[in-house]
Symmetry: C2
Subunit: 334 residues, 2 copies
């Protein structure tokens, strides 16, 4: 059979409905013909299941529709994995905004109206606004045409860690840290604040820990929380305030943040700290970013690969004033 | 005993030489006294091995010498690991430029003139010019005062992979890739160029692969290598040229570069490709950067941790015109 392109779709008439839609899940019915998206038509040409579109073969058709090359690679990959896939066109699927393809659950087809994954196709060099993510799978096509699937969610970040030291600690600002010579035992032991100095139980607190404790009245330091924040801003600028906002929020939610430096992140977190002696594996790597931030797929791939390698979940904390939105990104094998 | 600070050093007289230098490797002899660096004096105060410096105890002394806080943490850590450590002061050690501490081999002391590691101390927020690295260990002190040691080298990047296809291939530019319908078998089979399309052995080449092949006369494409480079520059700007320079150099040196996208890097590389069917593990992750680039310790930690997690070595290719300098960074446990 031969198809005819009309703008964004390819029409195939004359009993094409049964062959393409009913038995193979391509396109949408149009009388006893079908309307195919450009990507579907390319896939049928590629499979030699459609002879030509207005006389053009696979190569010539794609050369005339260059925007369809990258989505085609993803469509083909998902089809190869045994899924029916619907182009996310208005009227074809619900909630098509921001999505290119809808993957139906294994065994289901476009006629079932069910959804396994909502997929956005992006090239390796795209700019991805993180605030748009959640509930969508990014299919990233790299320069060698390999595809990486990244699942994005809006996780609930919370835990059961809780520590309000009964007696306030006294500390001294020393460079970018606060030294507490005689800390209450619970500060480190159940609150997991600071790091032991190795001598007489003295603690070194980070500026974030010290600011948060001082704000709550649990740490006395010359100049108070304001002096600690000032020191933090001098060292890290606005980033300090964003990180402090996230630090506070995590503590409020019963999650203990510790530095994620060794993982190149802002924090690693512990959701259920009872005592430091019985510390579990940290669950999340948190990267703190301004709410409007844009990341490249390569940066996302790096973060996700690293988190996966150390058995943690990668979470972005997007900060807008006092608001924090949580977005998690992980690998997906459809 | 009590010391007296004179600018950058602390002097301790009266038989201090035997106690501090001869038996413990602190400072340098000065008659039968010693001259200590500020960091060494802080460590002796911390150990209660020195009573005071001009009446000040450990906390007060460090508060007056805030620049010594971070080096002190590293000095203490290395001492705790059982090493003698010399401050890299002019006249105290050779080659002190760009270095803060010299770690002597285990069992050796400052009197032996031997060197295990030359250490540069940097805070988590420092800016590290990559071109300065090689032959030095970075001791990064993070905000919670934990220390990460990063070993830097100037590696020889070379291999034995070689592929000059006997017959040129013919390709078509399609978006950001080149499609080769009927490639010579050696192109993929022994050269590991491109990725198979899954159909009749057709190959998709990345723009870098295509440009490099076209420049060497191994690929015919409309407009030649120039058209491919133009497409690459339109997509990635100057970064395309830097990556192409490194791609060419790696191929010239017998190393096969493939995309490092899944690892958030520019390339992963194979030093000894004989045939693709018998492909070993890729050895390096290569990140391509302009020669003058500055990285934060956090970015370095992220790269190094990831490379370590996938059993590869992290190498930075620093590009200045046609020159490429290779700098590797890895974790070190002293």
């Amino acid at each position: 059979m031969e198809g005819h392109q009309r703008g964004g779709v390819v029409e195939v008439g004359e009993n094409a409905r049964e062959r393409y839609y009913d038995s193979s899940g391509y396109g949408r019915p149009d009388g006893d013909g079908v309307v195919l998206s450009v990507v579907e038509a390319a896939h049928l040409l590629y499979r030699d299941d459609l002879a030509a579109v207005d006389g053009r073969d696979f190569g010539a058709f794609l050369a005339d529709n260059p925007d369809a090359v990258v989505p085609f690679l993803v469509y083909r990959d998902l089809r190869d994995r045994g899924f029916y896939v619907s182009p996310a066109r208005e009227g074809w699927v619900d909630d098509h905004a921001g999505v290119d393809l809808v993957v139906h659950p294994r065994g289901d087809g476009p006629w079932d109206g069910t959804v396994a994954h909502r997929v956005r196709v992006v090239g390796e060099r795209a700019a991805v606004p993180l605030a748009d993510l959640g509930g969508v799978v990014l299919a990233v096509v790299d320069e060698e045409s390999e595809i990486t699937y990244l699942e994005t969610e809006r996780p609930d970040v919370s835990g059961t860690s809780d520590c309000s030291p009964s007696t306030p600690a006294e500390g001294v600002l020393l460079g970018d840290r606060v030294l507490v010579d005689e800390p209450p035992a619970a500060l480190y032991g159940s609150g997991f604040y600071g790091q032991r100095m190795g001598r007489d139980g003295a603690l070194q607190l980070s500026l974030l820990e010290a600011a948060s404790l001082a704000e709550r009245g649990d740490l006395a330091v010359d100049g108070g929380a304001g002096a600690v924040r000032e020191r933090g801003r001098a060292a890290a600028g606005e980033r300090f305030d964003r990180r402090l906002t996230v630090y506070r929020r995590l503590r409020e939610r019963g999650v203990v943040p510790k530095t994620g430096f060794k993982f190149g992140a802002d924090f690693r977190t512990y959701a259920d700290v009872d005592t430091v002696d019985d510390l579990g594996h940290s669950e999340l790597l948190v990267r703190v970013l301004p709410a409007g931030v844009v990341r490249s797929p390569r940066e996302l791939a790096l973060d996700v690969r690293l988190a996966h390698g150390v058995r943690k979940r990668m979470v972005f904390a997007l900060v807008d004033g006092d608001d924090v939105a949580w977005v998690s990104v992980g690998r997906l094998t459809p």
